[in-house]
């Protein structure tokens, strides 16, 4: 009798386990997902709101578009970076244009500025620079991508020496993959060829002389 009751109890427990197992597994998976989401949110700056960040970026893009030359806005919109050609060359016997420039910079959002030789594609250096707002008005010190690009563009075109002086210089490849830069230079060359016919003559292939300032 005891043996029969014991066997029945074991069978009952096994049956109950089989019935509840999918439900328990599902609950455990939900709890794990919830925990992971909490950890992800905890890692974000406090008050981070993806929607607000998207709106901020939209405003930043409009501001960038209103400040940089049309050709460079199109470059950023289509390629994701800006090219600034040798601002200092203006004070040393005339500004460079396209491949004639002694050097140029590629400006990426939230990445170092990359200096290179347009004629050869040789990478010269990376200038690590940021524009942190330590007041963290919305939980983060980081500007929207397009504001970061605009800040670099304004500082480079207005006072190249000052910006370079504030930055940390490194050999190419420290933060931006050289292969990526070479691919971007190829994309830029193709893009300029495609736009050469449609663009304003003064804007092709690079910046017009009066756009370049002596630092």
């Amino acid at each position: 009798m005891t043996l029969a009751l014991g066997t029945a109890a074991v069978v009952l427990v096994v049956l109950l386990w089989e019935l509840l197992r999918p439900h328990i597994a599902s609950e455990l998976a939900s709890a794990r997902a919830l925990w992971a989401e909490r950890r992800r949110r905890a890692a974000l700056p406090s008050g981070y709101d993806p929607g607000r960040e998207r709106r901020a970026e939209q405003r930043a893009r409009e501001l960038l578009q209103s400040c940089v030359p049309e050709q460079e806005w199109a470059m950023y919109r289509e390629l994701g970076f800006l090219r600034v050609t040798a601002p200092r060359a203006c004070g040393a016997g005339g500004p460079g244009r396209g491949e004639d420039a002694p050097y140029a910079y590629l400006i990426y959002p939230h990445k170092p500025i990359v200096a290179y030789v347009p004629a050869t594609g040789e990478l010269l250096s990376e200038y690590c620079v940021a524009f942190p707002d330590e007041s963290r008005p919305y939980g983060s010190p980081r500007l929207p991508d397009s504001d970061d690009v605009l800040a670099k563009w304004m500082a480079l075109t207005a006072d190249e020496r000052r910006l370079i002086g504030e930055s940390n210089m490194h050999l190419p490849g420290r933060q931006v993959e050289p292969e990526r830069v070479r691919r971007d230079l190829d994309r830029l060359a193709r893009w300029e060829r495609e736009h050469a016919g449609a663009a304003h003559p003064e804007a092709v292939p690079a910046r017009a002389p009066d756009n370049l300032r002596s630092a």
Binding site: R52, L63, F131, S140, M154, A155, S167, N211, R213
Partner: protein, 76 residues
């Protein structure tokens, strides 16, 4: 320029109106005192766009439509 927001209008006014000019100067000083850089987007005679960094209100061209403040550069 503000993280998480983008462009924020700090002050608006006409530099030809003394009272408004004073407000603009105060806003300008406030931002520079907070450690911001100030840039004026300009268009050259040739129609090209560029920027000019200014360190005092006197350096802002009278015909400038706006001054953009952004956090000062730091080595990244």
């Amino acid at each position: 320029m503000k993280p998480g927001h983008g462009e924020i209008v700090l002050a608006e006014g006409d530099v030809e109106v003394p009272e408004q000019e004073r407000e603009l100067i105060e806003a300008f000083r406030r931002e520079l005192d907070a450690g911001m850089w100030a840039a004026v987007p300009i268009e050259t005679a040739g129609g090209r766009r560029e920027a000019e960094l200014v360190k005092s209100f006197d350096e802002v061209p009278r015909e400038a439509e706006r001054v953009i403040f952004f956090p000062r550069a730091a080595g990244g």
